[in-house]
């Protein structure tokens, strides 16, 4: 199953792109996406443990299952304000 992960701020700079496409075996969880993202883009590996993930604009734990049409985002610690 193909999953597109949006990247922001430092993760976007480290990866050199705004999004990464991953090909994963079903069932796909946020945890599997986190792991695959680090393997696909090694530069992201050191910071992924500190990143949150969102599925369809909602914060999502590693156990959350992801479907092909879902919008997935990798969110480094936020710093607004």
């Amino acid at each position: 199953m193909k999953i597109r992960v949006k990247l922001f701020a430092l993760t976007q700079d480290l990866a050199g792109r705004e999004a990464v496409s991953l090909d994963l075996d079903e069932p796909v969880t946020v945890g599997a996406i986190r792991q695959s993202l680090g393997a696909t883009i090694p530069a992201l590996q050191p910071v992924l443990g500190s990143c949150a993930f969102a599925v369809n604009n909602e914060y999502a734990l590693n156990s959350v299952e992801v479907h092909e049409t879902d919008e997935v985002a990798c969110l480094p610690p936020v710093s607004g304000g």
């Binding site: 701020a9 590996q45 910071v47 500190s50 480094p76 936020v78 607004g80 304000g81």
Partner: protein
């Protein structure tokens, strides 16, 4: 009301937006861009967001605050793009019948916004270098480059 904007935040406009005959208190908090962080001088800051989620997270905070305090009007605005030193990057404004609720709600909203709303800032230092600000980011050794 929540908003992401690339335009300057006008404090008087925000104040008018929350002022109401039903309320005896208006609290407006402005987060402004700071020139010095310790000894390092900032020239400007750039804010970026995951806009749809930032908007929905701010809307959730507004709803949660309204459930918790007797808020009449609530406005949350965050700047995006380049923000010069001394300008407001964020505005939180609430009106309530009594002052204690307005202070508490505004403080709670600002704290939660900084924890949950996906907005990031990049410092452009006077030295010419830049840094993303990611509080709590741990850069662990990269196993893929160690072997």
């Amino acid at each position: 009301m929540v908003e992401l904007t690339e335009l300057p935040i006008d404090a008087s406009v925000v104040t008018r937006m929350v002022t109401s005959p039903k309320s005896g208190a208006v609290v407006l908090f402005l987060g402004t861009t700071r020139q010095f962080t310790d000894a390092k001088e900032t020239v400007t800051l750039t804010y970026t967001a995951y806009a749809p989620m930032a908007t929905s997270e701010m809307e959730k905070l507004e709803a949660q605050a309204k459930a918790r305090w007797p808020i009449d009007q609530c406005v949350l605005i965050h700047r995006l793009g380049e923000v010069s030193i001394g300008e407001a990057s964020v505005a939180v404004a609430v009106s309530t019948p009594h002052r204690r609720d307005a202070f508490e709600a505004a403080s709670w909203l600002m704290d939660r916004l900084k924890e949950l709303v996906p907005v990031w800032k990049k410092e452009h230092w006077a030295s010419g270098s830049t840094d993303w600000v990611h509080p709590g980011l741990v850069q662990r050794p990269d196993e893929n480059t160690l072997h």
